[in-house]
Amino acid sequence: MSEAFNRGTGLLVINVINSNPNGDPDGESEPRTFEADGRGLISPVSFKRKLRDLMENADADVRKAALAATGPETKKHFGILESRGRDRKAISAMSLGDFRAAYWDGRVFGNTFVEKADQGKFITTGVVQFGPGVSVSPVEIVRLTLTNKAGVEGDKDRGMAPLAFRVVHHGLYTMPFFVNPSAAHKSGCDGHDIDVLKFLIPHAYAHTASGIRPEVHILHAWYAEHKNPLGSCPDPLILAALKPKKKAGFDPNKPSLGIDEYDIPTALPEELRARLASFEDLCLKEWPLAGAA
C-alpha cells in the first residue's frame, strides 16, 4: 500500500458471450449498440456501479478480500456514497474531512453530492475516469422469449416475457480507464484507494453475474503505471498497442462468433514499456497481503 501514486492508464478487454453487458433503458433494455455501425457499447456508469456493488456490502467476500489484500481500514473507510437509502441530511452535516474519509467511491470517482446546507463543498472531480466500452466489431443481438412455470401475475398460474432475453451473441469489448493523481488532493484519494480499485476490477463481472449477464469475462485488465504523477508515455499509444484486432480473413465489419477471430495483444512493445514504471495484467496480479488474511 502506498499513499502517493503515479498516473495510470488501463484497458479492459472484455469477452461477452450470450450476455447483455449493459442494457439500454431507452431501448427496452436491449444491449447498447452504436446506431451508426452496430458496435456494442458499455457505459462507464454501468461499470463503476459494479465496482460500487462489490464494495457496498460490509460482509461481501470481494470487499473483505480487497481490504485483506491492500491493507485494512484505518482512518479512512471504504463506504459507498452512491447507495440507496442514504441519509442525505446526515451526510450533508458531515465535515469535509469526515466525508472524504467515509466514501471510497467519492474519493476515487468524484461526486456531485450537494444539499443546500453544504453549499456544494463536497463536489469533486474524479481521480479515475472510465471511458465507454466499445466492441471491436459490430455485435449481433439475439432475442428470446422467457417463460415462467409458476407465473408472477396474481390471476395466472404461468407467465411469459416475450423477447425479454436480449443478449449479445458474441462481442469483444475494450474499455479504457485513466488514473489522474492531479485530482487526488481535492477528493482525498490515495494509493490505497487505487489499490482497492485495481483489486476489484477483475472481479467486476464475475461477482455480479446475473441471468441476463452470465458470461461477461474480463480477459485482461491491463494497467500501465507511469513514472510520475503527470505521465511519462502518451496514453493513446498504450491504448492503441493493446487493442485487439480481427485476424486476417475475418471481416472487421461483421459480428464475431467467438474469440478465436481476434488477435489479442499480450504485451506492450518494448519502446512503450521502457517509458513506464510498471505494466501488468490485474487479472494475474499477486497481492502480497492477501495470503496473510
Binding site: D24, T125, G131, L230, P234
Partner: protein, 209 residues
C-alpha cells in the same frame, strides 16, 4: 505581435457538447463550442496565473481517409443521474433520474488555436512558454487532466498530432442558427455570462470561431 499557434487532433467513441436549448434531454452540437475547445486544450496544459491562454480559432470535423463523409452521426445515450440538477423532490427522496441524451458518435476533431496573453519582458514570454509546455507535454504523454470530449466519461481514444489516416470531411456543410460560444465574459477569471454566436456555418468540415 508574434503568433503562437498550436493544433491538436482528438477522437473518441462519443462526444457531448450540449445545446442549452435541449434542456434536460441534452443534444450535442456537432462540434465543440469555443469554450469546450479551450477547455480540452487546457486539460493538457495551462498557466494557473492566466498570463497566457489558448484562443481556439478553428475546428475541423474529420473522417477516416477514403470514407464517405458529409454527415455527423448521433447516438442515443441514456443513463441514470444522481447529481444536483435533479428536481428537489427527487433529491429529497433519493430518487435517481434517467437522462436521455443524444451524443455525437465516433467524432474526430482537429482543433487550431492561438495563444494569447501578456507579451512578456526580456527573457520571459508567457505565450511562448505555454506553447512550448503544450508541445512538450504531448510528446511526454503528460496532462493536467485526462482530456475528454465534453462529458468527462466520454474519454478520448486519441489526442496528439494530426494522423495521416484521418482527413477533414470536406463534404460536410452545416448551418447552426445559434451556438453557445462561451459561458464566461473573459478568457481568464471571467464572470458567468453566456454568449452565443448566430448563423454559424460549418463549411467543408470546418468551423471558424
Amino acid at each position: 505581435m508574434s503568433s503562437y499557434p498550436i493544433q491538436l487532433e482528438v477522437s473518441g467513441p462519443l462526444a457531448m457538447y450540449a445545446r442549452p436549448d435541449t434542456g434536460g434531454s441534452p443534444t450535442s452540437y456537432p462540434v465543440p463550442t469555443w469554450s469546450a475547445a479551450k477547455g480540452l486544450l487546457e486539460s493538457i496544459a495551462y498557466l494557473a496565473q492566466g498570463e497566457a491562454w489558448f484562443h481556439p480559432t478553428r475546428v475541423e470535423i474529420c473522417r477516416p481517409v477514403g470514407s464517405i463523409g458529409g454527415a455527423v452521426s448521433f447516438q442515443r445515450y441514456a443513463f441514470n443521474y444522481g447529481g444536483p440538477l435533479r428536481k428537489d423532490l427527487n433529491i429529497k427522496t433519493g430518487t435517481g433520474m434517467q437522462v436521455f441524451a443524444t451524443a455525437v458518435a465516433n467524432p474526430c476533431y482537429r482543433i487550431y488555436a492561438d495563444i494569447r496573453g501578456a507579451r512578456g519582458g526580456s527573457g520571459r514570454n508567457p505565450r511562448h512558454y505555454l506553447q512550448n509546455l503544450f508541445e512538450r507535454r504531448l510528446k511526454q504523454g503528460r496532462c493536467f487532466k485526462t482530456p475528454a470530449l465534453g462529458w468527462s466519461e466520454f474519454t478520448c481514444d486519441y489526442w496528439g498530432p494530426f494522423r495521416p489516416e484521418w482527413e477533414v470531411d470536406d463534404a460536410l456543410d452545416l448551418e447552426i442558427p445559434s451556438m453557445l460560444s462561451s459561458v464566461w465574459d473573459r478568457a481568464q477569471d471571467g464572470a458567468y455570462v453566456s454568449r452565443f454566436a448566430h448563423d454559424v456555418r460549418i463549411e467543408k468540415g470546418a468551423l471558424v470561431f
